[in-house]
Amino acid sequence: MNGRDLSDPIMEMYLFESSQLLEQLETTILDCEQAASFSAHAVNEIFRHMHTLKGSAAMMQYMGIAEVAHAIEDLFHFIRENIEQELNYRLLSDLVLKVGDFIKEEINKISFGLHPEESATSIIASIKQYLDELKQAKDSGMNAYQARIRFQNDCEMENIRAFNVIHRLKDISRSFHHDPPDLLEDEKSIEAIRKQGFHIFFESDKSYQEVHGFFMETAFLEQLELSHSEHAQLLEVPAVVEADDSVELPDWPEEREIQGKLESSSRNAVISVSVSKLDQLLDLVGELVIAEAMVSRSESSGYSGEGTSFNKTSGQLRKITGELQDIVMSIRMVPLVSTFHKMRRVARDMCQKLNKDVDIRIIGEDTELDKNIIDQISDPLMHLVRNALDHGIESTEERAQTGKKGSGSITLEAKNTGGYVEIVVADDGKGLNLDQILARARENGLLGEQDVNLTEKEIFGMIFLPGFSTKERITEFSGRGVGMDVVSRNIEGVGGVISVESNWLAGTSITMKIPLTLAIIDGMNVRVGSANYTVPTTSIKESFKPKLTDVITDPDGNEMIMVRGHCYPILRLHERFHSQNGLTSFEAGIFVMLEQDGKSLCLFVDELLGQQQVVVKTLPRYIKQVIHREGLAGCTLLGDGSISLILDVADLMGTNRNRGMQALAHNR
């Protein structure tokens, strides 16, 4: 019955819709938890989401999901009817999140063509149990109260008076207990009541006012504190907790990690687009059709000599193509909201486990990024948040010692800077320890002898090297030293740059600079020998014909050039890529000055061919298997159908330095 084809549009829709609902559900729950209450609106929303989930799961005949959703729906139906009732929001949100996780996992399984589990009896049982408790409380009309009574100083015989209160309490309450427990036999109870007051926990069907009035009748009453207490304190909490534990998935963090990976691989099937964008697109296509007709007509009517009409129409065509490109790109852009909100969930779960108190602040969640890129950075972001929570933020006691406020804070910020989006993960934890990083780098042999004069930035950069972890012990969340290098690799994979800033004891902030989109870049086409290359225009500073007198060669054979008093290394592209018949004389060719990450480099090429927007295509997988990051970011097709290779500027700079070092080693 579940043997549906994954490409089935109904199936596709189901998967998409369900995962979206789950995301919304999670956001709602987390919002409620932050506000420490479930508003009527939120309860309605959760109810609706669960109802939809149940309905569609039943339609697809995934009974396991439908049953769980049904149980939660029942629960929220009850809550909706009895909205004024006191709720244990923590327990409730735990339950709902657990159900969300269960459904998410099932949906993942389905999307991989596996059979979902048939039922989740344990989760349903714990939901039912909670519902029963609520119902019980409701049926008996019980409200739980907590009261503290202080008697007047000189009233004497406090224990007898307290006993009297309890005796009277029996009229309005069936279940109660009090502290101190033994009033008449124990001599010390008088002392205790004098000092701490007399505590009573009880349930009653009377309203707050009535109960308050009841206590005010007590003789010699000095002070009364009466409040609603949480059900959990009176009712059998341990049973519920136990039930929860049995539901808990074993090896939870690992599973999540796998889930994350699965998600990113399967999650690009469907994207929701605003209708106005589609309308714009349609308008543009309409214009395009007309412009195309105009161009072909002006061509077929013959070149009348002055060629103005052809120029005009082709100009129009170019304009429309440009707009078309913009709008298609904007369709692929998705706000970061859901990615950021996923982090809230990660942080919440970790806080509970690690017993830390952390606020997550989110800034600029509306910033938009290409859908593909968002999928790529969601894993790294999770790693960074986990790291910040686990390593960065200290425990509450440590924080108190260093004079910080008890709860830590992690800030997730996204902002647009030109063609890039900057995503910052900042915490106010203990920061990175420079000496510790250096020591660890030496230990692992990551640091050669020549690396003595490293800048702070370069040292912090070392945490991104594979196998590097300063954490002594491996926790379940992080510390295996595989996190950070994966993060940096993923970020570099989408053409981004990652950097760290940190102040010892004051916090760490990690900045990821990510290109808005991968698909189209501005490029400068250059020629070397018979080959064409494309250099991203963003990294070009200038191009110039050199004077031979400005070129210097150092004893190791490295060539450099003086430009306006600054000395830049020269990279001969033909030499770097071993291409035949490239120009070798500096006078015949041209220099292109590249700048990236504060480093500069002069690239020597034969000729500039012109600037053009190019569509980036990745190199075939087969090629990438053979060569690893050899100064190429991808390739593109030029107007005449030939292929041009896109240079990876950052990589070229890196290899240039290595080449120098190799030459150095060789000369010795």
């Binding site: 043997g3 080959a531 064409n532 770097r576 890529f577 071993h578 291409s579 295509k617 190199l619 075939p620 997988r621 087969y622 090629i623 298997q625 053979v626 060569i627 050899e630 100064g631 190429l632 390739c635 097709l637 159908g641 030939s642 292929i643 041009s644 290779l645």
Partner: protein
């Protein structure tokens, strides 16, 4: 619907069974299983990619799709032969990777039942890595290539290169 598609794929499988596309390199005849072959095209402008092993000639633009091309002659350490109008690129696909194989010329599709295939001789090393068997069809004898090894066996090469 499911039944139908299983039927179809079984049928296709059956139709492709024991069929080999043969091509020549110098005097020898080679065969590759027809199920890997996507299409055969004439020689195209090849864009060189730096730092590749010499047998991978570069990449070509096949209707907007970028695929790498490998010169099978060079792969088998035979002398390079200048490309002419008989030279063909056989586009094959293995486990989602498309690669073009440059060969001297393509001959025909032959049916070689498994009874007519013998394992390659033990001795010889080298080339035998890429040969999964030797097939007979009429009087012709051909070397049947193991596409998977042909494409994915550069771990060894890389080690050799590094040395």
């Amino acid at each position: 619907m499911t039944e139908q598609s299983t039927f179809n794929s079984a049928y296709e499988e059956d139709a492709q069974k024991d069929k080999f596309l043969t091509f020549s390199l110098g005097n020898e005849l080679y065969g590759i299983e027809i199920k890997h072959v996507i299409e055969i095209i004439g020689i195209q402008t090849i864009t060189e990619v730096p730092e590749l092993p010499d047998f991978v000639r570069g990449i070509i633009n096949l209707r907007g799709k970028i695929i790498p091309v490998m010169d099978v002659r060079l792969r088998f350490k035979k002398p390079f032969l200048e490309y002419n109008d008989r030279t063909c690129i056989i586009v094959i696909e293995m486990k989602g990777t498309s690669v073009g194989l440059i060969v001297d010329s393509v001959s025909e599709v032959l049916s070689v039942p498994s009874a007519d295939i013998v394992p390659p001789p033990e001795a010889g090393g080298g080339l035998n890595r890429y040969i999964q068997g030797i097939g007979k069809s009429g009087t012709a004898v051909m070397l049947l290539l193991d596409c998977d090894k042909l494409l994915h066996d550069h771990e060894v090469e890389r080690l050799l290169l590094a040395e």
